[in-house]
């Protein structure tokens, strides 16, 4: 009888697995026409709806412009988002619009044929920053609505207190010198955020992109190439800053899980290279009365011989699910979000839209709490935004290796040259 029960359980388990694996919806008709008045409930996958105000802003504006449409967000925990969406798409889920949190996942879904082709919509647009990242052999399966890029945030109060001029167009060497100078001057002048704390000239966050992605963007190097000599000058500078005490050291920052936000808003760092998403965070914190830091933005520091402003960033996009229940309505939403109207909706809350025009920049800098100086405006329009990490099937594996060796370099446990050689070795041997 024992055997029978085991067999029974095995059969039940097998059935459950089959049922779980095989649910799949039918293919949606791509040429379905859109009736502008028929009531539609559009489902959109999002992460952390509560903490990501851009979604609410977009949905409200779209619903206001399209009274027949009701948007139903499918809220997913931010950390689980890629896994959950992968599972949903593989299971044939019929959520209409899928938000592409990063380009790496996008490439995977597009290659798997899980997203509808929106190349025709892409052709109609122009000035969409970050659109190139979604080019899959000439076809587009998503349209970016938001494009973040890195700028240099600075704390005006600290600059004033030590009598330094606000940064405008720094080279990396000037940036490093400035950071060291401010640290010394602040200590000498007794400028401290609080008793017993230090004001650092800058804060370089612990992410590997702080060093590696900017090196990739500003040199000929490629983070997937397996040859990492081009990281060397950028690492030398980062280590120098750390040794000089001009930034909080990597070991402390990583083991204490220091938040860059706290470092900047409490005046512990005079400068902070960071993504433009931090603007929305600062505006929100100011509006809520959590901080009164007087800040401005400048372009990222550049290489010595650079004649244009190059930084890096990553776009966020909407895609139409191939199994979408309302694919025509979904296409309309995706196109709208990338249009001027969509851009205006998210600009209103300080999020940087993909669509770039003078009108948008104008609206952006008219926001309450935004710095109004010319440098900040210039910083907002970099000449070139490189993709933070190139997209390929090997990306996530390379990312892991680069991250591990980044820790080894920044904690000072492996000499730079050795770590770069190991990095190259590991990428060439382990990835594939």
């Amino acid at each position: 009888m024992k055997r029978r029960i085991v067999q029974g359980l095995a059969a039940t388990a097998a059935t459950a697995l089959l049922l779980g694996g095989c649910g799949s919806g039918g293919e949606a008709a791509a040429d379905e026409t859109l009736d502008p008045d028929a009531p539609v409930t559009l489902t959109v996958s999002v992460w952390n709806l509560e903490g990501t105000p851009e979604f609410g802003a977009l949905f409200d504006a779209y619903e206001a412009a399209h009274p027949n449409v009701t948007i139903e967000p499918v809220d997913i925990l931010a950390d689980d988002y890629p896994t959950k969406v992968t599972t949903m798409l593989a299971g044939g889920d019929s959520t209409d619009v899928i938000t592409m949190k990063n380009v790496i996942d996008y490439a995977r879904y597009a290659t798997n044929g899980q997203l509808a082709d929106v190349s025709d919509l892409a052709e109609e647009t122009s000035d969409l920053a970050g659109l190139d990242a979604f080019d899959q052999d000439g076809s587009y399966f998503a349209l970016p609505y938001r494009q973040d890029f890195w700028v240099l945030f600075y704390n005006k109060a600290i600059f004033d207190a030590v009598g330094e001029e606000y940064p405008t167009d720094l080279t990396w060497d000037e940036y490093a010198e400035l950071a060291e100078r401010i640290t010394e001057e602040a200590a000498a002048a007794g400028v401290t955020p609080a008793e017993g704390q230090t004001t650092y000239g800058t804060y370089q966050h612990t992410w590997r992109s702080t060093v590696q992605a900017i090196a990739d963007a500003q040199t000929d190097g490629d983070q997937l190439s397996g040859d990492y000599e081009f990281f060397a000058p950028y690492y030398e500078r980062a280590l120098e800053l750390q040794d000089a005490g001009a930034t909080l050291d990597f070991s402390t920052a990583s083991t204490q899980k220091i938040s860059y936000r706290t470092m900047f808003t409490t005046g512990q760092a005079a400068m902070l290279p960071m993504g433009s998403w931090f603007i929305a965070g600062l505006l929100q914190a100011e509006a809520a009365g959590e901080t009164d830091v007087d800040w401005g933005i400048a372009p990222m520091p550049q290489a010595e011989d650079a004649d244009e402003v190059t930084t890096f960033g990553s776009p966020t996009a909407f895609a139409v699910n191939k199994n979408a229940e309302n694919s025509a309505a979904a296409r309309d939403f995706v196109a709208w979000a990338a249009s001027e109207e969509g851009a205006k909706a998210i600009t209103a809350i300080g999020v940087v839209p993909s669509l770039q025009s003078d009108a948008i920049t104008e609206a952006y800098f008219a926001l309450e709490g935004m710095p109004t100086d010319e440098t900040s405006r210039a910083a907002f329009e970099p000449d070139e935004v490189a993709l933070e990490m190139p997209v390929a099937p090997t990306t996530s594996q390379v990312d892991q290796i680069l991250n591990e060796e980044h820790q080894n370099i920044m904690t000072g446990s492996v000499p730079l040259e050795d770590a770069l050689a190991t990095m190259a070795d590991r990428v060439q041997n382990e990835v594939g």
């Binding site: 388990a13 070991s251 402390t252 591990e404 080894n408 904690t411 446990s413």
Partner: protein, 317 residues
């Protein structure tokens, strides 16, 4: 099962034993009821165990020989995953780190928990308080433990290094931010967290030792150390064996502590096998290779546990 008993009445008496002894009385309904009752008691647990543990464990043995991303049909690849395992630098690093953790964690935890148990196995004031205090780390959330210990380990401002500096250590270790010291730091935290639980087991073991043995030893002139070596240690052997097995298995599959404290870093200095399994399977979607690593870990634990059993058997005879 009901039908088995009814259809084959001849089977029932045979259950009594090989000699064909008939049980004193056979009330089939009674037997059936008892069996059903027994099954019903373990059923809720067994269903959960079977669906969530047994089936996946057995499946692992099959998946380890395939290439599978959890969505497409698995593709049989023979021994590919295992050959890859042999040449995989990440696997080698994780294996060495796992052994390092085990070799450090098992004896230290045993010594600490036995020490605590001996200290708290006497009538002292506030006994309940001290026992509770020692047990507390075990029931504390691992995330809280990791955050607090990371603060203590802070290389520049942490209390541990400040204490070391005042005692004249000029270059105190970097703990979790230094690849050489990260593993010892994690081991120490692990010992601190686990010792309370094993202390309870040792305490229970100590209570079973008859006081007469100690009295007799005393009468024979044995000092405290001799009484410990020749009375306590042998009498505790069943407990020690159990603790050893549980600790070893627990150390080999350490995961949460590492993930929240160092996440395998700096570099790969604290990357352990279970973390590699998670990374390969859940993060990279290579369930075939991930299962192969899991299989290797399973075999490793199995062999070591069997060796420990064999040793215990030898000591018993």
């Amino acid at each position: 099962m009901a039908s088995t008993t009814l259809d084959r009445p001849a089977a029932a008496p045979r259950r009594g034993g090989p000699a064909g002894r008939r049980p004193a009385y056979v009330n089939r309904r009674q037997v059936r009821r008892n069996t059903l009752l027994g099954w019903s008691f373990i059923l809720p647990n067994f269903v959960g165990f079977a669906l969530l543990t047994l089936v996946p464990v057995i499946a692992t043995f099959g998946i380890a020989f395939t290439r599978w991303n959890a969505y497409a049909a698995p593709e049989f690849t023979g021994l590919d995953n295992l050959t890859r395992l042999v040449g995989d630098e990440n696997f080698r690093v994780a294996l060495v780190n796992t052994l390092y953790y085990t070799v450090g964690h098992v004896p230290l935890t045993m010594a600490a928990s036995l020490g605590l148990a001996l200290a708290l196995n006497r009538k002292i004031r506030g006994l309940a308080f001290f026992r509770t205090a020692a047990f507390f780390p075990y029931i504390t959330s691992i995330v809280a433990v990791a955050v607090v210990w990371n603060m203590l380990y802070n290389p520049s401002q942490g209390p541990i290094n400040q204490l070391l500096t005042t005692f004249g250590v000029s270059d105190p270790p970097g703990w979790t931010s230094d690849p050489t010291w990260a593993m010892p730091a994690v081991i120490l935290t692990g010992v601190w967290k686990d010792m309370g639980y094993y202390m309870i087991l040792f305490l229970a073991g100590l209570q079973t030792i008859p006081p007469e043995l100690y009295e007799a030893a005393k009468t024979d002139g044995a000092n405290a150390l001799q009484r410990f070596r020749h009375v306590t240690v042998p009498c505790l052997r069943p407990t020690t064996f159990f603790v050893l097995i549980m600790l070893t298995i627990g150390s080999f599959k350490v995961f949460d502590l590492i993930v929240v404290m160092t996440n395998g870093g700096p570099g790969r200095s604290t990357l352990v096998l279970s973390q590699l399994i998670y990374r390969e399977g859940i993060v990279n979607g290579r369930f075939g290779y991930s299962s192969a690593v899991a299989l290797a870990l399973f075999l490793l634990v199995l062999v070591i546990t069997l060796l420990q059993y064999a040793r215990n058997q030898r000591l018993e005879t």
